[in-house]
């Protein structure tokens, strides 16, 4: 088109333009194929991209906060689920230069044991409180569906209304605890289909990227009956499919092949479209208002736009920028225990209720600290140490699943004298 476009793509330019971001070595996978003498070069493992770590940690924290407060503006500010799937898609695309079956086996090995551990705790608790083969009067179905606790091709079953441990928990406690399980099912399907997705992405990148969005429009158009386990999986798959593919496209360097001004110019328009879709959708509860998480199409569009922007920014930090250095510990912890935190956070939030309730009968708290007891922040503050406990109790399984030495609490220690030297 113009003089500079080639210049901007020119890797030879040693200057500091924005276009130079394309020098990320992992991006040029297909170029590497064409230049065999360069292929054996990357012997040293490239360092973690701290930016992606930051996104993952933010997404996790946002999920926990959202499940505590149910603030409907939170998913708009940071669409966590889209970001998580995009990051996972990016990693998946990176791994897929190895044989696909091995990669899928590796992913399952890392995903399933933490979930089995979760199920090993939750399922007996549910059975203890009245769940079982006769819960829905279809014992065969019950036993069949239990298979989803082994391989979550569909959402693992739970008892929607159970006994309450003697009145300490609401009857819907199992349902609340099982909130995160849909993510595992969606993740599993993306992993299983990734080799196909990647092939399609390489053949018809832009079409592939937009197909899940188009399917989301179709599935949610009202023409399709959305009930049933299969359609549930399909709805989630299409909602976040474009984000997963965006992550893959990012890894493949697709987003860097187009002029740099396109994404930041188009993404705001996409976001506006998503917002419009959200605002024109009917509201379940007018006092709460429009909830992005309840409207799949709006969620799909909004997440797509936001992820597009976040991946475009993608500054590829090998080192933390100065202001973020201090959060290194928390972010690293959250990243190495992401599955654990995600699986157990709703458990922790449910547990805060029986912890706070007795305080109402304490006269001191009743007289002087009602604001504290009724505050929505209190459960969150209590959940934090509970989540840490979950990390200690159950987090090691992530290391075992990844064939690493199990650690109790992988909070990175600061190198000695580090703080002094910074000042």
């Amino acid at each position: 088109m113009s003089t500079s476009e080639r210049a901007a793509h020119g890797v030879q330019d040693p200057s500091e333009t924005l276009a130079l971001r394309i020098l990320v070595p992992s991006v040029f996978t297909e170029q590497r194929d064409t230049e065999p003498e360069e292929a054996p070069a990357p012997a040293r493992r490239p360092g973690r991209d701290r930016y992606l770590d930051l996104l993952r940690a933010l997404a996790l924290v946002r999920v926990v906060i959202y499940h505590n407060f149910s603030w409907t503006w939170l998913p708009i500010v940071f669409p966590s689920m889209g970001v998580m799937f995009a990051l996972a898609g990016s990693l998946m695309a990176r791994s897929l230069n190895r044989p696909a079956l091995n990669v899928i086996r590796g992913r399952l090995r890392r995903l399933l044991p933490p979930m089995w551990l979760f199920g090993a705790v939750v399922v007996p608790l549910m059975i203890l409180q009245g769940w079982g083969p006769h819960y829905n009067h279809h014992p065969h179905w019950w036993w069949a569906e239990m298979a989803f606790w082994v391989l979550p091709l569909s959402e693992p079953p739970f008892g929607a209304s159970l006994h309450t441990f003697g009145g300490h928990l609401p009857a819907s406690w199992a349902e609340q605890i099982s909130v995160p399980l849909w993510y595992l099912r969606a993740y599993l399907w993306y992993v299983l289909l990734s080799p196909l997705l990647l092939k399609a992405m390489r053949k018809l990148p832009w079409v592939t990227l937009l197909v899940p969005l188009a399917l989301a429009f179709f599935i949610n158009s009202g023409l399709v009956d959305q009930s049933g386990r299969l359609m549930e999986a399909a709805t989630d798959f299409t909602t976040f499919g474009s984000c997963w593919l965006l992550g893959m496209a990012h890894q493949e360097g697709l987003l860097r092949k187009i002029p740099q001004y396109i994404v930041p110019s188009v993404a705001p328009l996409i976001l506006m479209f998503g917002m419009w879709w959200l605002l024109r959708s009917p509201v379940d509860n007018p006092r709460i208002g429009h909830d992005l998480e309840a409207i799949p199409v709006a969620q799909a569009i909004w997440s797509f736009g936001a992820v597009l922007l976040l991946l475009h920014l993608s500054p590829s930090w090998e080192q933390w920028p100065k202001p973020l250095e201090r959060f290194n510990g928390v972010i690293s912890l959250l990243n190495s225990r992401a599955v654990t935190v995600y699986l157990w956070h709703s458990f922790a939030l449910v547990l805060t209720e029986p912890l706070i309730d007795p305080l109402w009968s304490n006269t001191f708290f009743y007289d002087h600290a009602q604001w504290l007891l009724s505050s929505q922040w209190t459960p969150l503050l209590l959940a934090a140490p509970l989540i840490c406990t979950a990390i200690i109790l159950f987090g090691w399984i992530e290391d075992v699943a990844a064939k690493r030495r199990p650690r109790l609490f992988p909070y990175p220690r600061r190198p000695k004298g580090r703080r002094r030297s910074r000042e």
């Binding site: 088109m1 113009s2 003089t3 500079s4 476009e5 080639r6 210049a7 901007a8 020119g10 330019d13 200057s15 500091e16 333009t17 924005l18 276009a19 002029p259 740099q260 001004y261 396109i262 930041p264 110019s265 188009v266 705001p268 328009l269 506006m272 605002l279 007018p286 006092r287 709460i288 208002g289």
Partner: protein, 724 residues
């Protein structure tokens, strides 16, 4: 507006360098915008425009509403301990409470008050906050007459459709208004669109509960007269009569929201008829025996209410003026678009007409002056591009005391037509003057050290000199690094600036600036204008204005293209624009006397200068008000209508942009970034201009900043691969 220029000389040593940028450069502009937004919201609240919502909730189940409330009296007390076990109060027998909703209105409320006074009746007025702020005198009169005030929210929405915090806000703001107007607080609340208690449902009941927990008695009604439907006086009177003789009742009437002549006519009849049946008239507080719901406020609340009322009044009075100014600016901008489209078409028709020529082809050799200060990354490309020129040229590189290898690189290149002059660092204008003094030819082209010419550029640029009246020619500067977001924005800006603005200025004969990246001068004209001066930071604007005053024509040569490298970061763009806008202000001030001069100088002074002042200073300063207006409209009023209007203006701009791309034979892909560019540029130019204006007023002087350059533009140009 677009100019391509690089100032790379440092401030001369004679002038002490001062930090010109005010320390709080974002603070003031943003504060102004925020204040403007706040005032707009206040005014919008008073006019019931902000948060206006006419939706009504459709009733649903009533499983959560206590039966005692559904079947109880019209006043519900859910305060404090009663929140979970609300108590209903009925109006005692032979007692009637007249209540007027939605007011006060300046047209009907005084008449109703007059009737009530004549009949010696005290009633309840459930007022909305927006009406309170607009009619403070009426509220004072209602209170003075002994009536009771109840809160009917600020903006009259159906609260069942809104959040708890909205309810809190509605009640709080209304109390603020009441405190400011009459110094009172009301503990009585009536939800908009409410009626009898048996109409409560699962959506509207939480509203009453929350109002109770915030300390309000909620007053529903027994008898709805439906007077707002204007059913006729008889019908209103009939509806106000009790179902059972002697039964106490709360009657709903309205004193605002439309023509209330029927209400006004029915009121004395209702009072007389009920009196004849032995009824007494009381306020709600009196009727249920709780005492008046209105209490005096003092101290902080009173002070806050007064401040609120004062700000609202101020904003209501201010806003018409502001809207007037904006309307004028908006009309001017539209007129400018139209003018640009028409004049650019005229210009294109004129210069692209078959057989058009400026006169006999200009073939005489030309001197190209390249001022260079620390240009080692780019100077090679620049000189190599000149070497390929198809017009006979002599190149004079004036090295303005570079601290890098610029001079050595020029020498090493050893191009035959290039002469190098070194001088002590003394600024770009001085370097240009040096070059002009050493020039061997009568026609002089000036360019920047980071700009690349096409082979035909010089030839195209000097053709207009065939006309002896032409003293200077502006070329067509194009952005090379248009791939990044900021580059693409500037590309858009340059294409529009050179193809619409400059063509328009050419036709109007008042071109304000010859871009430093590419311009040609007649040596005699330059001498007449006094050469380049360092009086201003925009020496190119300065000299162009001086040429106009000396009576020379300045024209635009569209085919003389120069490729330049635009700033790549927001910070660099900021400092570049800061210099331009401040320099333009300086130049305008320097040539202000042209306004009163005769002849061509007067033409420029009375056409060109106002144009520049209006569209390069005034409009950008006011333009962000449009964006603030959009934020206001989208968030507070009607998002769809506002966005539709915004996109309509954007479409108009897109048409202009597309036309300019078409004129420049550029592909229009970059137009996709137009919406983002418009928003960011408007705010950027506003902040830059405000900062320049402050600098100008405080007499500060700007630091020279050299752009960080990458040498990116021109690699292909130099190797002859350029396309456009």
């Amino acid at each position: 507006m677009s100019r391509s220029r690089r100032h790379r000389s440092r401030q001369s040593l004679a002038r002490p360098r001062r930090l010109a940028a005010p320390p709080l450069r974002f603070f003031l502009p943003l504060t102004l915008l925020a204040t403007l937004l706040a005032l707009m919201v206040l005014r919008g609240m008073a006019n019931n425009e902000v948060f206006h919502d006419e939706r009504i909730a459709v009733s649903v189940d009533k499983g959560t509403v206590p039966t005692s409330v559904l079947e109880g009296g019209p006043v519900v007390d859910a305060r404090g301990d009663k929140n979970s076990k609300p108590v209903s109060y009925t109006i005692p027998d032979k007692t009637v409470v007249l209540s007027f909703d939605d007011g006060p209105s300046p047209q009907w409320t005084p008449k109703i008050l007059k009737v009530l006074k004549e009949k010696n009746v005290h009633a309840d007025f459930f007022v909305t906050g927006s009406m309170v702020t607009r009619n403070p005198a009426l509220i004072r009169r209602i209170v003075a007459d002994g009536h009771e005030i109840g809160v009917h929210t600020f903006t009259h929405p159906d609260l069942a459709l809104h959040s708890g915090s909205r309810l809190t806000w509605e009640l709080g703001e209304t109390q603020l208004a009441l405190a400011g107007v009459a110094g009172i607080h009301s503990a009585l609340f009536r939800p908009p669109y409410s009626s009898t208690t048996d109409a409560l449902d699962d959506w509207s009941w939480p509203v009453t509960q929350q109002a109770g927990s915030e300390g309000y008695l909620t007053a529903f009604i027994n008898k709805d007269t439906d007077d707002w439907k204007r059913p006729g006086v008889d019908s209103i009177v009939k509806a106000a009569m009790p179902d059972l003789p002697g039964q106490g009742e709360m009657v709903l009437l309205h004193d605002a929201g439309g023509n209330r002549s029927q209400t006004l006519a029915a009121l004395p009849v209702i009072i007389d008829k009920l009196r004849a049946q032995g009824y007494t008239f009381r306020t709600t507080g009196e009727a249920i025996g709780s005492g008046s719901a209105n209490t005096k406020v003092s101290g902080y609340s009173l002070w806050l209410g007064t401040a609120f009322l004062w700000c609202t009044t101020f904003s209501v009075r201010l806003m018409p003026w502001l809207i007037g100014v904006l309307a004028v600016v908006g009309a001017l901008v539209m007129a400018r678009f139209a003018l640009m489209l028409v004049l650019s078409t005229i210009h294109v028709r004129r210069v692209r007409k078959k057989g058009f020529s400026w006169g006999a082809p200009v073939t005489e050799p030309v001197t190209v002056v390249v001022p260079a200060y620390n240009e080692q990354e780019c100077i090679t490309n620049t000189l190599l591009s000149l070497a390929r020129s198809d017009h006979p040229i002599e190149v004079i590189v004036v090295d303005d005391g570079s601290s890098d290898d610029t001079a050595a690189i020029v020498e090493e290149l050893g191009l035959p037509m290039v002469r190098l002059i070194r001088q002590r660092n003394s600024g770009k204008p001085a370097a240009l003057n040096t070059g002009v003094a050493a020039a061997s030819h009568a026609l002089i082209v000036m360019m920047d050290g980071d700009t690349v010419f096409e082979p035909a550029t010089v030839r195209e640029l000097v053709q207009p000199f065939a006309d002896p009246r032409v003293g200077a020619v502006a070329g067509n500067a194009k952005v090379g690094n248009r791939d990044t977001l900021i580059g693409a924005w500037q590309h858009l800006e340059y294409v529009m600036g050179f193809n619409l603005d400059r063509r328009m200025y050419d036709v109007l004969d008042c071109m304000p600036t010859i871009p430093g990246a590419i311009g040609a001068f007649r040596r005699t004209a330059l001498q007449e204008a006094g050469g380049m001066s360092d009086d201003t930071l925009a020496e190119d604007t300065d000299v162009t204005m001086a040429l106009h005053r000396a009576g020379w024509k300045v024209v635009y040569a569209e085919d003389a293209r120069a490729w330049t490298e635009a700033p790549v970061s927001m910070k660099q763009l900021w400092s570049q624009r800061y210099r331009w806008s401040y320099g333009t202000m300086q130049a305008m001030w320097k040539h202000r006397h042209a306004l009163l001069e005769r002849g061509p100088a007067g033409h420029f002074g009375r056409v060109g200068l106002p144009f520049v002042a209006l569209f390069m200073v005034v409009t950008p300063l006011l333009a962000p008000a449009f964006d603030i207006g959009m934020v206001y409209g989208v968030v507070f009023v009607d998002a769809y209508k506002t966005l539709a209007a915004w996109f309509a203006v954007m479409a108009l701009q897109a048409v202009c942009a597309w036309w300019s791309f078409h004129l420049d034979r550029e592909k229009a892909w970059h137009l996709i970034t137009l919406p983002a560019q418009q928003v960011v540029y408007r705010v950027l130019m506003y902040m830059v201009l405000l900062q320049s204006a402050i600098t100008a007023m405080t007499g500060g002087r700007l630091r020279w900043q050299k752009l960080k350059r990458t040498g990116e533009v021109g690699l292909e140009v130099a190797t002859g691969e350029m396309t456009s």
